[in-house]
């Protein structure tokens, strides 16, 4: 009997599957289910009123807009950074490589306070930016800066290993076959990197949507101008409005989940198109 089973490297498939499901439920599904359950204490009409209040809608626009933009910026510059780190060697490269992870490790409040100190009108950068009309701290632009900061490692760290595996011979072959630099990048390198790049983008985006600590210090938190959705949730909580808070949270969850699903779908599609699905 035992011999008829398919051979697996690690034993205990049932055990690990059970463990995975249990672990997922305990850490992710049950807390999230609790959010939705609490929301159901509201009637449908009340729910709609809470989640479509103009002030709340303004925060969706800022939170999701800034997060998408920040993830896009990170996708471009994170790719460049990863490229530089993989393909070139320069003095202090190890240090730069380690620095990339810093936004992961730094308490977000510290990041927020540091960025605010930098960009406030009397800060190191702010004192030069403000006179030429660029206000960063306490504006939506400040929110974007904070989100770019915390999202950077996601793109670099997902793209880097793929780049390391990428043989330079592929590029040489392309060049030998007469490809221009841009063509090599566009038709050889980018398709290989795209799935990883999109994963990085999705991670950076997801992190940015939920970010509270760093943003709150630099945002200014003015109603209709620079309030993020997580702050709305805190605001509801401070009024002991648990149901309102979970209502907004569930809208955020649905939004994020849908967007992540789309991104994952796109990723699978590009992987298939480039024949790299495994």
């Amino acid at each position: 009997m035992a011999a008829a089973r398919t051979f697996r490297v690690l034993p205990g498939f049932n055990l690990t599957l059970g463990y995975t499901l249990g672990y997922m439920s305990l850490l992710i599904l049950i807390p999230l289910a609790a959010v939705f359950l609490k929301t159901t204490e509201l009637t449908w009409g009340e729910f709609i009123d809470v989640v479509t209040a103009p002030q709340v809608v303004a925060t969706y626009k800022l939170s999701f807009g800034a997060s998408l933009l920040a993830a896009a910026i990170n996708a471009v510059f994170g790719l460049m950074l990863a490229w530089a780190l993989v393909r070139y060697s320069f003095p202090g490269k190890k240090i730069v490589d380690a620095l990339v992870d810093l936004p992961f490790a730094l308490p977000t409040a510290v990041a927020g306070i540091a960025l605010t100190a930098l960009y406030a009108k009397n800060g190191w950068l702010g004192q030069y930016l403000e006179p030429i009309g660029i206000k960063v701290a306490f504006t939506p632009l400040g929110v974007l800066v904070a989100l770019v900061f915390i999202g950077l490692p996601f793109v670099v760290r997902t793209v880097q290993p793929i780049l390391e595996d990428l043989d330079t011979e592929l590029e040489e072959a392309a060049t030998c076959l007469g490809a221009q630099r841009w063509q090599t990048f566009r038709h050889v390198i980018l398709p290989i990197l795209l799935p990883a790049l999109m994963t990085g983008f999705a991670l950076a985006f997801a992190r940015a949507v939920g970010e509270y600590g760093s943003v709150i210090f630099i945002a200014g938190n003015l109603p209709y101008v620079s309030e993020i959705t997580p702050l709305m949730i805190i605001t509801k909580l401070e009024q002991y409005d648990y149901r309102g808070a979970t209502a907004i949270a569930s809208v955020m969850l649905l939004f994020s989940f849908t967007l992540l699903l789309i991104i994952n779908g796109l990723q699978a599609w590009t992987a298939k198109r480039t024949g790299r699905d495994r």
Binding site: A120, N122, L222, P223, T235, Q239
Partner: protein, 335 residues
């Protein structure tokens, strides 16, 4: 087998903990941010007093954070023997929300002076020399003056600030429409709304943003203490609000833990000469100034104070000003 030893270990733990509780008692005081120094000093004073009176050792654990956040923690099950929060509204929430009957609804009548052994008020902190010449509430809405205050929706301290401004305008102009106009203008002078009072203090003191910080008097004194009197000074407005941070025993917890007696004594002792002295020393206005040191009391200038009753009590004020659609929302909503 492993399970057995685990259970044995747990039992041993419980036994140790149990015997420790018999020899000494510990209570948890859940408080808000700027009382840290006050209660550090008070706790050791009370432990001495309690040891002398009963022979028992009492150790008091402290928890500090934003007032609303602390109240939610208690509602959600943090076993606080006593709560000492920034405003009655937060303790009301504990009495109302919890299913476990933590508090009686009229908790605030159990101790003298609305259960507030010390009070404070809202003052202005300005840069040394008062470069913008800020003297009273009207100066805050002069062109070019930036005011720093936290968001009243998320900060208990900010609610006192907002109500102080509202009360001033209501007293001066005599109508609510005018008061609304005043706070609307005032909020246009606020460049950043931090979610908590400590954040606002940072913005003003560390970042150097704004000309005036609206702050609790005790926080203003603490800031000056920490940063040196050569950087900031306190301006006391003509009229302000009497901020009463109340204290109460959380019966639901103490009855279960058998700490009602010590927890009650802990709060009552705040009204004693020693308690009042420590409060005054830590920049809270003692409710019985005659018991505190005269030189500490002399630091508090006379202010024309109105209390929350002038605005209809906390429940009414919260509903009118800070609930969704309240005056604060109206001020920002009218575009």
């Amino acid at each position: 087998m492993k399970l057995k030893s685990l259970v044995a270990g747990l039992l041993a733990n419980a036994l140790v903990a149990g015997s420790a509780a018999a020899a000494s008692v510990s209570i948890l005081n859940v408080s808000y941010d700027p009382t840290r120094e006050l209660y550090q000093e008070y706790n050791s004073a009370f432990a001495r007093y309690w040891k002398g009176k009963t022979g028992d050792d009492v150790s008091i654990k402290q928890s500090h954070g934003g007032s609303g956040k602390q109240a939610r923690a208690v509602i959600d099950g943090l076993e606080a023997d006593v709560v000492t929060l920034a405003l009655a509204y937060d303790i009301d929430a504990i009495a109302q929300e919890s299913r476990n009957k933590l508090l009686v609804p009229d908790w605030q009548k159990r101790l003298p002076h609305n259960s507030s052994p010390y009070t404070s008020t809202i003052v202005f902190l300005v840069k040394k020399g008062n470069p913008k010449g800020i003297k009273d509430w009207d100066d805050l809405i002069k062109p070019g003056v930036e005011v720093i205050t936290p968001n009243p929706k998320t900060s208990g301290g900010a609610r006192w600030n907002y109500l102080a401004a509202w009360g001033y305008a209501l007293k001066k102009y005599g109508s609510e429409a005018k008061a609304l106009e005043y706070v609307k203008t005032l909020l246009q002078h606020v460049p950043v709304l931090d979610p908590g009072a400590r954040g606002s203090t940072n913005t003003f003191v560390q970042r150097g943003i704004g000309d005036v910080l609206l702050a609790w008097e005790n926080e203003a004194f603490l800031s000056i203490n920490e940063l040196g009197p050569d950087k900031f000074e306190i301006v006391v407005p003509s009229v302000s609000i009497l901020a009463e941070p109340p204290v109460t025993v959380v019966n639901g917890v103490t009855e279960k833990r058998g700490t009602t007696k010590v927890a009650t004594a802990y709060l009552e002792y705040l009204y004693s000469a020693e308690g009042q002295k420590i409060a005054a020393k830590n920049y809270y206005r003692p409710i019985k100034p005659e018991l505190a040191d005269a030189k500490d009391v002399a630091r508090f200038p006379k202010v024309n104070l109105f209390d929350i009753g002038f605005l209809g009590g906390w429940q009414a004020a919260q509903k009118k000003h800070f609930s969704d659609g309240g005056t604060f929302d109206q001020v920002y909503g009218r575009k």
